[in-house]
């Protein structure tokens, strides 16, 4: 597993030196590892966008000129294959698959006249924007760590004469100290009788989180729920997923963060972002 991850990292830019990677410590913790016998090793990757970026670089052209369709197909092929082998993938990867499947359908189906949904090209541009932005941050990180750094390349006074105290208070502590102390003690007291429940159903919160995350990408009417459900769940979980997603979407509509419409009973549900941002439910008790 570790070996495979290493290979994946080594192959990132075939033929090119990868000085950036050298600066990164090995990631110890595996991700996506779960109970079932088989797991997918996406250890070398920081999420689906990173995987896409990697696949895009494999196209060996500038990010602005990649074939988004080919990229989407490649990603979906990867996910399909994983699913056929009944392996598990982290939810993030599946959310991306749902979105890409939708993007693909938009790119391939000719545009209708009264079509209010975003065009495939607009969606492709959005994906390219996100990839470019991520790559920019990646480069920025490399440029940062390559700077002359204090304690490595540049040094402070080795024998400080500790005489100048600026803070008025005689005591010092940081907010981080304070929060760590608080969290640690509350946890110590609370953790004694914690049972970790196995999740058999899609919680409302889960569905809400996923919807809220995808909404950032929905600028116009989108029949996203079907893609979401197709990729995100195993058949036996489908009912609970539909129920939770639907309930969560109603909640978002109530908040004004989402609009929904349906042209006829049992017709696809169309969604688009509302006028307000979703309430950050991390804050809600």
């Amino acid at each position: 597993m570790a070996e495979a991850a290493k290979n994946a990292a080594d192959r990132k830019e075939p033929g090119k030196p990868i000085p950036m990677e050298k600066l990164w410590a090995e990631d110890g913790a595996g991700r996506g590892v779960s109970e079932p016998a088989l797991t997918v090793d996406v250890d070398g990757f920081e999420g689906p966008l990173d995987l896409l970026l990697h696949l895009a670089r494999n196209q060996k052209v500038d990010l602005a000129r990649i074939s988004v369709l080919a990229l989407a197909e490649q990603y979906l092929a990867f996910v399909e294959r994983v699913r056929r082998m009944r392996l598990e993938l982290a939810a993030d990867y599946l959310v991306m698959a749902a979105w890409l499947a939708y993007l693909k359908s938009r790119l391939l189906i000719p545009r209708q006249k009264d079509d209010e949904e975003p065009s495939g090209e607009e969606m492709a541009a959005l994906l390219q924007f996100r990839l470019k932005r991520l790559e920019a941050m990646r480069d920025a990180a490399a440029r940062l760590v390559n700077r002359n750094r204090l304690g490595r390349d540049v040094f402070a006074r080795g024998m400080p004469e500790p005489v100048l105290v600026e803070k008025k208070s005689a005591y010092s502590a940081t907010l981080y100290d304070l929060l760590t102390a608080y969290a640690a003690q509350r946890q110590r007291r609370a953790i004694t009788n914690v049972q970790i429940a196995k999740r058999g159903v899609w919680s409302l919160k889960q569905a809400r989180d996923i919807l809220a995350r995808m909404m950032g990408e929905l600028s116009d009417w989108t029949a996203l729920d079907r893609f979401l459900i197709a990729y995100l769940t195993r058949p036996e979980e489908r009912v609970t997923a539909v129920a939770s997603t639907f309930a969560a979407s109603l909640e978002l509509v109530r908040e004004g963060a989402l609009e929904i419409r349906q042209s006829a009973p049992f017709a696809p549900l169309y969604m688009r972002g509302g006028s307000k941002p979703p309430i950050d439910n991390r804050e809600m008790p």
């Binding site: 000129r65 993030d92 541009a125 920019a136 700077r147």
Partner: protein
């Protein structure tokens, strides 16, 4: 006799604006003495010293900014430089002598790739909420990454966003600037370019260059190779692992 710009160690005091020295010798004396005091105060400390703290200790009426700028140019070409970090001042060994110094570099804890990436996102996009960081990185924050960054002292909670839910915002600290040798956030490498390219905005800017899609979405461009069915296993993406029990 300075043969090379590189070796001029100190600007001579004589080069101070002549007018000033002639007109107000008393002020000049006071100024030079203030420089000595500021120099001693900042030199003594390993931590950057704030302009405010200096103002409190220097004789009343001292133009601290001018004193510090003067000192900075005194030290500009020496082995030790006076640097500004946000609103603070510190002496640091010259960057070009890193080769010499790294022999005594202490072992530094390496940050994970995820942590570094998140640090960059926070630095360039601050103030930024966790949800926004996740949006940019396209992945949920794994446990401990943000924690690690807070622990380094480079990242801090800045406040709360005035939106529903009032999410906490994150930003960088003065220690971050000090560690990476930045005077201020505007000195972040490539910041202006990134801003200009619209890559620091949370949403895709309307002027973001949308490449003209080919008429036939399936047709490859001139400089495109068809994708081979990439062997995912070869890429190391798919490694079935049998759990031993």
């Amino acid at each position: 006799m300075n043969e090379s710009a590189n070796v001029v160690p100190f600007r001579a005091e004589e080069k101070a604006p002549a007018a000033e020295a002639h007109d107000a010798p008393a002020r000049s004396v006071a100024f030079a003495e203030a420089k000595r005091m500021a120099e001693a105060l900042v030199f003594a400390s390993a931590e950057p010293v704030s302009t405010r703290a200096l103002a409190e200790r220097l004789p009343e009426g001292t133009d601290v900014q001018a004193v510090m700028e003067d000192l900075r140019s005194d030290y500009a070409r020496r082995g030790v430089n006076l640097v500004r970090v946000a609103d603070c001042w510190a002496f640091r060994t010259a960057g070009d002598l890193a080769f010499l110094m790294s022999r005594q570099a202490m072992q530094q804890k390496k940050l994970s790739r995820a942590a570094l990436e998140m640090l960059a996102v926070i630095a360039y996009h601050q103030p930024v909420t966790r949800a926004e960081i996740e949006e940019i990185r396209g992945v949920e924050t794994s446990k401990g990454t943000l924690d690690t960054l807070l622990e380094t002292g480079w990242v801090r909670m800045r406040g709360r966003r005035r939106t529903p839910g009032r999410p906490v915002t994150y930003g960088t600290t003065t220690e971050f600037l000090d560690h990476f040798g930045l005077e201020e956030l505007r000195d972040l490498p490539g910041l202006e370019e990134l801003k200009g390219a619209g890559l620091l905005s949370p949403r895709m800017p309307s002027n973001f260059a949308v490449p003209q899609p080919p008429a036939d979405a399936d047709a490859l461009g001139e400089d495109e190779d068809p994708l081979t069915d990439v062997d995912l296993e070869e890429l190391g993406l798919l490694t079935p692992r049998v759990e031993d029990d």
